[in-house]
Symmetry: C2
Subunit: 450 residues, 2 copies
Amino acid sequence: MMAFEITKDLLDNITQYITIKNDTELSVVFSEMHHADIAEILDELSFDETLYIIRLLDSETTAEVLIDIDDDVREKVLKQLSAKEIAEEIDELDTDDAADIISELPEKRKQDVIQHVEDKEHAKEIVELLRYDEDSAGGLMAKELVKVNENWTIVRCVKEMRIQAEEVTRVHSIYVVGDNGELKGRLSLKDLLMASTTSKIADVYIPKVDFVVVTDEAEDVANVMRKYDLEAIPVVDELGILLGRITIDDIVDVIKEEAEKDYQLAAGITQDVEADDTIWELTRARLPWLFLGLIGGVGAFLIMEGFQESFKENAVLFFFTPLIAAMAGNVGVQSSAIIVQGLANDDVKGSINNRLIKEMLLAALNGLLLALVLFIFIWLYNGELLKAFAISVSLIVVIIIAGLIGTFIPLFLDKRGIDPAIATGPFITTSNDIFGILIYFWIAKMIIGF
Amino acid sequence: MMAFEITKDLLDNITQYITIKNDTELSVVFSEMHHADIAEILDELSFDETLYIIRLLDSETTAEVLIDIDDDVREKVLKQLSAKEIAEEIDELDTDDAADIISELPEKRKQDVIQHVEDKEHAKEIVELLRYDEDSAGGLMAKELVKVNENWTIVRCVKEMRIQAEEVTRVHSIYVVGDNGELKGRLSLKDLLMASTTSKIADVYIPKVDFVVVTDEAEDVANVMRKYDLEAIPVVDELGILLGRITIDDIVDVIKEEAEKDYQLAAGITQDVEADDTIWELTRARLPWLFLGLIGGVGAFLIMEGFQESFKENAVLFFFTPLIAAMAGNVGVQSSAIIVQGLANDDVKGSINNRLIKEMLLAALNGLLLALVLFIFIWLYNGELLKAFAISVSLIVVIIIAGLIGTFIPLFLDKRGIDPAIATGPFITTSNDIFGILIYFWIAKMIIGF
């Protein structure tokens, strides 16, 4: 692979050039570099060095670099730039990226920056994009696209396209619209390349075209584009008027971020953090979930304390509480993870009841096998048949209930419009710990009779 | 959204048409449908019905449908089809999809099917692709691409391209090669559209082109394409000869699958399972991890039993073991998740030592805050200052060690070339449970002195 690697030498050179203000050498170093690589380097530099480079490079480059650097760094850089400087960057960016940057600014600065944008048409389009929720199709789309009227000839179409294509980085499809701007169909570049120049658009365009509505959720857009292997999809309003288009590179980021968010939630980490974030940021993301675990642990303590009278004859019961808690937690996490993933991929069909029955059977099967192993171990180890029996039966019941809770909670949250991913991880582990231990002692008490 | 929804009515109609063998109506139902939608319907039908539809529809459609249906269904369908029938499907598919299907067949059938493929050039290319590991660039690439020689004129180029483009579903880039087939650069469709027909390729092509080597790992290819927002990337061999290209739709699947695999591993689910799989498949994916948890629980039992002499005076210690185990597990999962995600995104830089020091500080900070809360609770609740102190100090140490284990194990596995994702979930929870409880009793014993 032609992988770009940041070497210590490279970083040392750059910091040294910055110290001695050798702008010529710096320009040489960065001139041939991809903006994503420059962003990677800036993430390794100090903030003052980063700002120095941003100010040194031309706004065409830095505009793209700003999109790629760490959110926190970008926020700090933008604070240091004047409204006019930011507007210069904005002028270089596609509308979707421009809107993303402006949306991060405080309300007053937004207006300031937009007023400084030179291309008024560009500014108008950005303002339009700012209206949409960032997790909707509108928040993902760019205004840049190539569209032609169904009544044009191929010759006129090619001519208009050449003009429009100047502004569009990648032409995926040519969208065909009617006189009111309503989306009619599409024309592939390949078809255009193959078509005779004398035809009319109306004769050659493909009337079947996938599209999304501007208010659709980003995750749904991702699912549609992935399912149909699309590289771009047009966005229309409620009346079918073509508003913009979403390209696959933005969807790749949506898929990645969505997966990372779910993964972090399952691991008990709120907010989007990375290994390189500060200890303070990481603590804020981790501590709340740990605190939840602490409360769960105190709950378990109170339950066990409530049963302590029976300890003398039933010490073995108490020694198995970590096992019970661990199994309840593990089963809960497993079942919730499968449901959360199925919901995200939109392939959980059928009724909640069927799910619960299936999970119950599954948990019963797993529980039975595990309880059998545990029964044999306890029996052989200390020969107390009744206690071995009580603990094993409790284990089965705890596993079944843990499985049901793990299945039900995400489905329930999803029905109520809450992201089911929060139900995975510490939330399910903690509640299952408490339920598990409580049920365990109840059942053991019933069987042994203390 | 123009979302496709499978209604009960639609399914009922289809099954009824199948029962009465009304092929005309079935053809009408499926004729306008996208292959991804047909696949979704087949996943809801019985196996015999699926086979009926596969045999009914033309091989151009069913070839694409076969790519999209559930792996298990495809395997069963392929078993029912003759080598000749499979070869007909293969003939319709791009080389990468064709190779994916053939690679799932038993060795003897592979040869049979390949011999039946009519287009011998196509067969040869598929055989070449079968050589590569499925998780490598070679395993992802297709042979279909548009390439032109640097010495051609634009006119010749357009002519050749029209021929080549017939076979390529989506032309992203035109790759420019030298006389030995070595990759020289690229030509964008847009440039071609804009260039004057009298120029030579050598004068207009862009010599800078991202590429990957055929042996590169799929995950690295995904990272490169995502970083540089590429929609297609050429694949070369070790000598720089152009072999094929990888398109973004395949990378989207890689990213999605990689994320789902990591997520499932973190939740204690091996193998790729879905909510709709059978109870038996789900048990196989879930039981091994639960069994690991059971062993961990037995370990915790043995430790607690070893300390049981001290129970009478120190019952409270035993009642807090679930809390200690839960905290150790949660902290371990949090730290391992951040490292695993950082490794997957290739942004864990710097030495292992620095990571461990940072995690230690982070865990110490979290531990201190949580221990303080716990200390106050125990003190107020039962007034035993020394025990409250012992438990709280143990909690801090346990959290620090859990964090270190959670950080170290994935880094260690990664260094040894093992997928670090297996270190998340039950593996880390279970080992942290045992270590946690052991350390807890040791430290409490030291402080209280039983």
